[in-house]
Symmetry: C2
């Protein structure tokens, strides 16, 4: 089973948690891919450079200067630091953006009705899965930032959750694939105020019920939607869980 | 013949020249590797972030904050922009740092007598040439920034000329290799004030003569030294020439 693990910005920003996570990730057996988000460094750098940060529906509006910053931070410092740390743990990582080997081409989002700038949407069918598979077969562990490209010379800023789920869908045509979202909660919670209320497994029916009664709301909805979408397109299972418990069971499972 | 082409910061900083160069590089036939320097963006970013820039003998002293900046700029924005632009020209590039696939491990320079900080020296014998060869055989074109790692979790800042010559030496054990330094002059000049005085070919004897009479001096000496060193360790030929004339002949040739 290929494991595709996504870590969010909260893990990136927490140095001890990131170090522990990278140790756990190194210990995952078999073929694996890491996708990482960005954390607060890009916003800090934008602030220091007096580039205004504009968020719309949780997505960063990416003008030319912001694209430079996110490319530097995500594909440069964060990606290469993670690769260096993984190598030190015996994990032969290779850090990639979606431009490298044309791994993840994307399409700049339609500027109408809202112009997000250099933001790229990914079609799983266009992912260069055979290239990624060949890296895995060489014993390498691809580590992806969410910087993609339009295949016409421009980099694009994509959403790391979308990179992970698109990769999982694309790779599942070649090999059985599990998608694991690691974040700062113990899973999809029955009671958002109780970390011990992680739901072990969610079916479509339960999901609709919990959405209706308000237990699942806000930012959790797109995550769970993307999990069901991945399953619908061939991914074997999706786990949503805490970055601390990658190899320890727990979290919320979604499967066919 | 494998062509390893190095471009310096002057090319990176000159957008039209860089675009022309990347077009010419895309047209180079057969296996090829690009190594790029950094340009002025790292210094500008350090200035904007109030990180003092300290140069010693032409080498940037790299403290922890500076390492972050050069990793962002070289391995992030510049590397990925070049990759995206090459792909648009039909060149299937893959952007790498020395940490990726442990391609170029380095050793942090001895802090005595001068502490350069996170500066890494490369041993050609430790370069992961078989990994790089496997990428070439997949039809990929590796594009290297001069960010390396110590294989113990830390990134290091290396010299791009050294990355290029070390790569050329390492690859020449596997395949006949040509090293091409592209910069802003027409080659090694007999008369530094006359761009039309490029020496077509330099032998050891001529080199000693021109050094003695002062025609070859300053920053040209380490470049030519590194060329002779590459030849001594198996590289077939080294060309030092203008970034504008990559496929047009010209420049200065050094061979066995």
């Amino acid at each position: 089973m290929l494991n595709i693990v996504k870590i969010g910005g909260n893990v990136i920003d927490d140095e001890p948690l990131l170090a522990q996570f990278l140790g756990d990730f190194s210990a995952v057996r078999g073929h694996k891919i890491l996708v990482h988000g960005g954390g607060k460094l890009a916003t800090k750098l934008c602030d220091a450079l007096h580039i205004p940060t504009q968020m719309l529906d949780g997505r960063r509006v990416t003008d030319a200067e912001t694209l430079k910053v996110v490319s530097m931070v995500y594909a440069g410092w964060i990606n290469k630091s993670i690769v260096a740390q993984l190598y030190a743990q015996g994990c032969h990582a290779i850090g990639l953006s979606g431009a490298d080997g044309n791994a993840i081409p994307a399409v700049r989002r339609n500027p109408v009705p809202v112009d997000y700038g250099f933001v790229g949407d990914i079609k799983p069918g266009q992912i260069n899965a055979s290239f990624i598979q060949s890296l895995l077969e060489q014993g390498l562990v691809p580590v992806f930032s969410a910087i993609t490209h339009d295949a016409h010379g421009s980099l694009l800023n994509s959403n790391a959750d979308s990179v992970a789920s698109s990769l999982a869908i694309a790779m599942s045509y070649l090999t059985p694939t599990r998608l694991i979202y690691c974040f700062e909660k113990n899973g999809v919670l029955r009671d958002p105020s109780d970390e011990n209320s992680a739901i072990p497994e969610i079916t479509r029916e339960l999901y609709e019920e919990y959405k209706a009664d308000g237990a699942i709301s806000g930012g959790m909805i797109p995550k769970v939607d993307s999990a069901f979408n991945a399953i619908a397109f061939g991914v074997k299972e999706v786990i949503i869980g805490h970055a601390k418990s990658l190899n320890k069971g727990g979290g919320t499972m979604i499967r066919k």
